[in-house]
């Protein structure tokens, strides 16, 4: 039995004519300690998928099993790093992390919590900014706070919903390394949702493409057998890397063109005439 299991998970929103089928029969198995990436186009249902796994949402049909038990609610066992950081703007970096630590370790002493908060802020190298508020931080720094907040709860699994999507390439590279380092240290299970193929290839053990919705399903998985720690510069010369990358991109391009051809429907436009709004006397 896998660590995280999604069996025939479907998710629809709305009812009747306005029903939108976002996810359709998703099957996903992640083993303990694995780093899995899911790549997909924007609007393909990635965030919905992550919300089903972290417990913010429940599937319409099928089941999400975490360590063999169905996911019904959010849990400290699964830490989430949101796409838009979601820091509380009226709290400092320290207080933002403190909020998580307080909830995860309600019975520990204040000194323990304080040490833990500082440890994790230091881990994402934000100690100099520990008393600043989110508005005083750059985008990359904010996302680091979000990483520290998620990790400080000591989750057994980290869910990342396009965590680096809004960052520039350089900051993105740095943060990728930081996340990998942290993941490496205590080998947590990790699920990364991303729209960047290279990011997935660099970070994950397996990449699974998400075929775009409506009725999004998972495509065939691509294993990445490149030894860790991976060197970004050397990666470009690795045969294995090139092969996987090409195969993956080809697959995504195919879906892309398929989707483009599918959407070339002729829409019947309503017969509308501009209304004369001048006053008629």
């Amino acid at each position: 039995m896998a660590y995280l299991e999604l069996n025939n998970v479907s998710k629809t929103f709305g009812t009747g004519d306005s029903t939108s089928h976002v996810l359709d029969k998703i099957n996903l198995h992640i083993e303990e300690g694995e780093f899995v990436a899911i790549v997909g186009f924007t609007g393909s249902g990635k965030t919905t998928l992550v919300n089903l796994i972290n417990g913010l949402d429940t599937p319409t049909s099928g089941e999400v099993l975490f360590k063999g038990k169905p996911v019904r609610d959010t849990s400290h066992e699964r830490g989430v790093i949101f796409q838009n950081y979601s820091l509380l703007p009226w709290l400092t970096v320290y207080q933002n992390v403190e909020m998580a630590v307080k909830e995860a370790f309600p019975n520990e002493t204040k000194a323990f919590r304080d040490a833990r908060i500082k440890e994790y802020v230091d881990l994402v190298s934000l100690s100099p900014a520990i008393n600043k508020r989110p508005k005083e931080l750059s985008g990359g720094m904010r996302q680091r706070v979000s990483v520290a907040r998620a990790l400080s709860m000591d989750p057994e699994m980290i869910l990342m919903d396009e965590p680096l999507g809004a960052l520039d390439a350089l900051t993105r590279g740095n943060l990728q390394d930081e996340i990998l380092n942290i993941w490496n240290k205590n080998k947590r299970t990790a699920l990364l949702i991303t729209n960047d193929v290279d990011e997935g290839l660099y970070m994950a053990d397996r990449i699974i493409p998400l075929r775009p919705g409506p009725n999004a399903t998972l495509g065939p998985e691509f294993k990445i057998d490149i030894e860790r720690p991976r060197d970004k510069a050397a990666l470009n010369d690795s045969e294995e890397y090139k092969k996987t990358r090409n195969a993956l991109i080809e697959y995504l391009m195919d879906i892309g063109s398929e989707r483009a051809s599918n959407t070339q429907n002729l829409y019947k436009l309503p017969d509308l005439q501009p209304k004369d709004l001048r006053w008629d006397f």
């Binding site: 417990g55 913010l56 979601s86 509380l88 703007p89 009226w90 909830e103 508020r133 508005k135």
Partner: protein, 366 residues
């Protein structure tokens, strides 16, 4: 030093003095002079223009009224009487001045008169206190009520009473509207079930609230000996003005950013934690906007309510002066008008400063 002064000025809402400070500090003189012209000289010019229009207006109204009086005297009592009236008006004798819109100088004179009156009354009060001090001690020792000053309140006393009433009303509104707003905001069921009540009660006129409160308080204070007009007026003020806070709080609480709610869920905050640590801070800007509207509405309805409830304060001052019909009554009313406007402005400024201090920018976290 300069930065500290600028920060203080901005904090106090006196940002328009900024170019003066900068100019004094020897910064870019051309730019700052233009700024001074724009921010200080132009408003002063507009005040002068206002006074000018007022002066000419009141002058022409005065003449119309005077001519009418003279013509009337001529028609009814003949030329001799008309000349007498004309001479009387021109001599500036108070007994025969036309009763119309007072000129700025008359208003200013009334203002000074009111201040003088206040000083007299204060001195009077002090003297009274001294005189009755020994007696009052005795009375208290005997278990009797001490004798208190029962003379006429001065204009400044009226202002103080009004401010006291408005704050009592505002506090009442705050204590009723914020908790109810939060509770209603949290539950959609409650929101929909009480919506009709709020929507119907919100537009009710202050006068009706006053009457309603009067009905209830009158019965409830049957045994009380003291003056109930203060209670009636501050409760009415509170009830009239609380709706803005109620609606804004409910809206603020119910429309907290979904991201923050998700954070609360993922961190598994308890219900109370979620409300106090996430929902309330997030809706504070809207709650404060509501409170600001509440305070200004409270001040606005206060005058009308005092006027009707005959409770002491600026409203009853205005009404009494109007009923009084004395020669300087009109200018006293105008003085009261300016004082009311100015205090309203100050109250709004205070709220704005507190709001700036407490709120955060909605997009800071993202």
């Amino acid at each position: 030093m300069k930065d500290a002064i600028l920060r203080t000025l901005r904090f106090l809402g006196l940002g328009f003095l900024e170019p003066v400070v900068r100019l004094a500090a020897g910064e870019d003189s051309k730019k700052n002079t233009i700024e001074i012209l724009k921010k200080i000289v132009a408003p002063i010019a507009s005040i002068l223009l206002f006074l000018g229009v007022w002066y000419t207006g009141s002058k022409s109204l005065f003449n119309t009224e005077a001519n009418y009086t003279i013509e009337k005297a001529r028609k009814e009592q003949g030329q001799v009487e008309a000349d007498k009236v004309k001479a009387c008006i021109e001599s500036g004798d108070l007994s025969c001045q036309p009763n119309t819109l007072p000129s700025p100088s008359q208003v200013w004179a009334s203002y000074k008169l009111l201040l003088k009156d206040h000083n007299t009354i204060t001195a009077d009060k002090k003297a009274f206190k001294l005189r009755t001090a020994a007696l009052n001690e005795k009375r208290v020792a005997q278990g009797k009520e001490p004798i208190v000053y029962t003379g006429r309140p001065s204009f400044v006393d009226q202002i103080k009473t009004s401010i006291k009433t408005v704050f009592a009303g505002f506090l009442l509104a705050l204590l009723i509207a914020t908790p109810i707003g939060i509770i209603i905001g949290l539950s959609e069921t409650l929101r929909t079930s009480f919506n009709w009540l709020i929507q119907i009660l919100k537009p009710v006129s202050p006068v009706v609230w006053l009457l309603l409160v009067f009905m209830i308080v009158k019965t409830m204070t049957k045994d009380a000996t003291g003056d109930t007009s203060f209670i009636i007026s501050f409760i009415s003020v509170g009830l009239c003005s609380m709706w803005a806070t109620l609606v804004n709080t409910a809206m603020g609480v119910s429309s907290v950013d979904k991201d923050y709610i998700n954070v609360a869920k993922v961190l598994k905050l308890g219900a109370l934690q979620k409300i106090f640590k996430v929902i309330l801070p997030a809706s504070l800007p809207l709650i404060f906007t509501g409170l600001r509207i509440t305070l200004s509405v409270a001040w606005m309805v206060l005058i009308a309510i005092e006027l009707l409830a005959q409770s002491p304060g600026l409203g009853s001052f205005v009404w009494e002066e109007f009923q009084n019909g004395a020669n300087d009554s009109n200018s006293k009313i105008i003085v009261a008008m300016f004082v009311i406007g100015f205090i309203g402005f100050l109250l709004d400024r205070i709220m704005l400063t507190i709001q700036k201090f407490i709120s955060f920018d909605k997009n800071e976290g993202i």
